[in-house]
Amino acid sequence: MMQRLRPQSTSAVMYTVLLALCPGAVVSMWVYGMGVLFNMLIATVSAWGFEALCLRLRGRPILPRLSDHSALLTGWLLALSLPQAAPWWLVVAGVGCAIVLGKHLYGGLGHNPVNPAMLAYALLLVSAPVSMTTLWVDPLNPPEITLAWSAFLGIAPDGYTSATVLDLYRTEFIGLTQPEMQNHPLLAQSVFGVAAGTEWVALAYFAGGLGLLACRVITWHIPVGFLGSLLLLSALFAIDPDTATPPLTHLLAGASLFAAFFILTDPVSGATSPRGRLWFAIGVGCLTYLIRTFGQYPDAIAFAVLLMNFAVPMIDHYTRPRIVGRDASVRGSGGLS
């Protein structure tokens, strides 16, 4: 029965993931305002544009590849990762990086060594750090549609953005005690005491991710490995609530749930065997915790994913299952050919 639910073609797989993104995207629009929708729309248009351009330059058939939805998925994933008040050029540049540098330079669909959306995110973060860190919408004060539109055009006055909760723990909360932290409006007005608004977005992604699990587009290994290692590490170091970021914040305040089901699960750039996927996800979880805690960046998923993408060939070599009839599993690459 479950085998029937599984999408029967690559484009159906992509389409299912796009559908599963929708609950998160809708809740995102509700929490952060229409900037999210503008980002997604411009990402859609530019993803199709860059994909068609690259296919044309590479002399490949355009329509069959465009209709496999893979470019659209990359565009949406990036749009949903970017700051909600990002100007249009940031989105277009990001999607351009993802499709051109992240995917087609390596040979198109199926050949990219790293996650294209995360590659673009990391590039934007180092090349446009101000836009990437200061344009996060305050979920308690989301902009009206007109304001969101001017933000999208890059001409809006300030006043609707705020630091993210993960950021707060790294900056404003230093030196504060746990009860004092709870007085911050983002935490005080939150249902779970974690991050107002943001937590609902995370839970909506979680719901979409469960859908992907039910359709057998993804397996449990990656979400469990990633969330498990992240939660375990943050719980181990959360003994002192005044200095550590609590586990629930790691889970619900950043992009953890989004990444667990939609980013790490990119099959092309991830490990390929179930055991390999588990190790890959555990690696991303540990790196995410380390970078969030000790690194310079507020959210760390992009870098953690990219680093683990580079480790994938090695993981694949050491995690093959034992071939039936052999005494041990095959290790290593078996010659350099």
């Binding site: 690559t10 390929t272 093959r320 039936v324 050919s337």
Partner: protein, 489 residues
């Protein structure tokens, strides 16, 4: 009365898939005996058992059972019906290679004369049974057509492969329903001759009629053999030789070894039934063929004489060549597409499958791992494909290409519709060719070095002889001189 024990398997296949089976359509109608066709075709080389040689000449009249082809392996193929040899000409064969072979064409007639062997009577020796298998043309009827007698030897367990796990195929199912007695008898006499202690039947749980028939046959058999029936879940490819051994006995055959090296003999039920008839003197002349597929107007099983042209089989299923898009011999997974239709069926033709294959566009591999999940030997087909696409045969071999059983379960689950199994089949053939070329090169190198050594040795010996001779002649000269000097004239 033979002893019987029925149980469900305790073991599980690592991968495997649950395809739609499409079996019911061809089992609804009873087995039908096909009328003798006008012409019968017997390829000299691809009838099973290796390359062959014709034993008959044009114009000769043969009867049902007359030996007509002698093969390299010793297996003799017999005429399935009486008639006149009208010609021996090169024709396409019904084989995955779609090759051409000299083919004996028999024009059948109305006479029903038989040219059978003498029935054997117990006790007989192993050699006599082996000779009988050769004379009766017994080869594996499951599909590979391997000469059965070559597997017989020092085995302790006989596994009967009644899984028939491929969709559409019901020929074995029907055989078990109508002639379970012959299967049981064949197994018993093989076990008795070769002192096999254990007989295990592996059968999928979707064949309840066949299971009932087997149970009845075993319980009414006049033999002291002990039978075990292991019921397997319907899961492709539970009928693969190694997979079946794992599911029934829980034993894993080492990579690169054959089951016979583990003391296990695997036979298709059809082979055992044929052996039972061979002991009575009847060589293989007929077999059950499933005529099925979405484009077969009346799907059914027929008992057809070996050599029957495909067109006659299609006609029996009320279908003709104009109305079919593809014709596959065997199941949808492991069968092969037929390019020439004017060919005769062979002993291994278990199914004629006609359907619209609806080829889907091939998309790039996204490493989703669905194939690895389906692989019954735990290969990573996505990594294998990557190696083969980049012509890295060595890497593919390291990834376990040689362990692939070509079951094509990966093809069925690939969302990008990549024909993985075809890549692997091709890669395996190249690997085989490379190994053989390597062996030939090694042999040539060995020949060359030993020749060089030999020539060097000969040259040295010659040189030594020459030196010795020279020394001798110098000595002789010196003696002569000495003598001269000593005796001045």
């Amino acid at each position: 009365m033979a002893d019987l024990n029925i149980q469900t398997t305790r073991f599980q296949l690592p991968g495997g898939i649950e395809p739609e089976m499409h079996k019911a359509c061809s089992t609804e109608t009873p087995l039908e005996q096909l009328d003798t066709p006008k012409h019968l075709y017997f390829p000299v080389h691809y009838s099973g058992g290796g390359r062959g040689e014709s034993l008959v000449h044009v114009g000769q009249r043969v009867s049902r059972g007359t030996p007509i082809i002698q093969t390299d392996s010793g297996v003799v193929h017999c005429a399935s019906r009486g008639g006149q040899i009208v010609c021996v000409e090169p024709r396409a064969v019904l084989h995955a290679s779609n090759d051409i072979s000299d083919t004996i064409v028999i024009e059948t007639d109305e006479r029903l004369d038989q040219d059978y062997l003498e029935p054997l009577s117990w006790p007989w020796t192993r050699e006599i049974l082996i000779q009988r298998a050769l004379d009766a043309g017994i080869i594996g009827l499951g599909g590979a057509g391997f000469p059965s007698h070559q597997k017989w030897g020092a085995q302790h367990t006989l596994v009967i492969n009644a899984a028939e796990c491929e969709p559409y195929l019901t020929a074995d199912d029907l055989l078990m329903r109508v002639d379970a007695h012959s299967i049981v008898r064949g197994a018993c006499l093989l076990a008795r001759t070769f002192e096999i202690q254990r007989i295990v039947i592996g059968i999928e749980d979707n064949k309840s009629h066949a299971l009932d028939a087997l149970t009845t046959a075993i319980q009414s058999a006049r033999s002291d053999c002990h039978f075990e029936i292991v019921i397997l879940p319907t899961r492709y490819p539970s009928g693969g030789e190694r997979q079946l051994i794992w599911l029934t006995l829980g034993e894993e055959i080492q990579s690169g070894q054959r089951p016979s090296q583990h003391g296990i003999l695997v036979h298709n039920p059809g082979t055992l039934a044929a052996l039972s008839r061979a002991v009575d003197g009847k060589p293989i002349t007929d077999r059950i063929v499933t005529l099925t597929g979405d484009q077969m107007r009346s799907p059914k099983n027929v008992l057809a004489p070996i050599g029957t042209p495909l067109t006659e089989l299609l006609a029996a299923g009320h279908t003709d060549l104009e109305h079919i898009s593809s014709l596959v011999i065997g199941g949808p997974f492991m069968g092969f597409e037929v390019m020439h239709h004017d060919v005769g069926m062979t002993k291994t033709t278990n199914c004629v499958l006609v359907r619209d294959p609806m080829p889907l566009p091939i998309e790039p591999c996204i490493r989703c791992g669905a194939c690895a999940e389906a692989c019954p030997v735990n290969l990573q087909p996505q990594l294998l494909l990557n190696a083969l696409e980049s012509q890295a045969l060595e890497r593919a071999s390291h990834e376990g290409l040689a362990d692939c059983i070509e079951c094509a379960a990966c093809n069925a689950v690939c969302p990008s519709h990549i024909p993985l199994a075809q890549w692997f089949r091709h890669g395996r053939a190249r690997l085989q060719a490379d190994t053989e070329a390597q062996q030939r090169a090694d042999a040539a190198r060995l020949r060359f070095t030993s020749r060089t050594e030999r020539l060097e040795r000969l040259a040295k010996e010659q040189e030594a002889r020459r030196t010795a001779r020279r020394a001798q002649s110098v000595d002789a000269l010196a003696r002569v001189r000495q003598a001269r000097e000593g005796n001045p004239s």
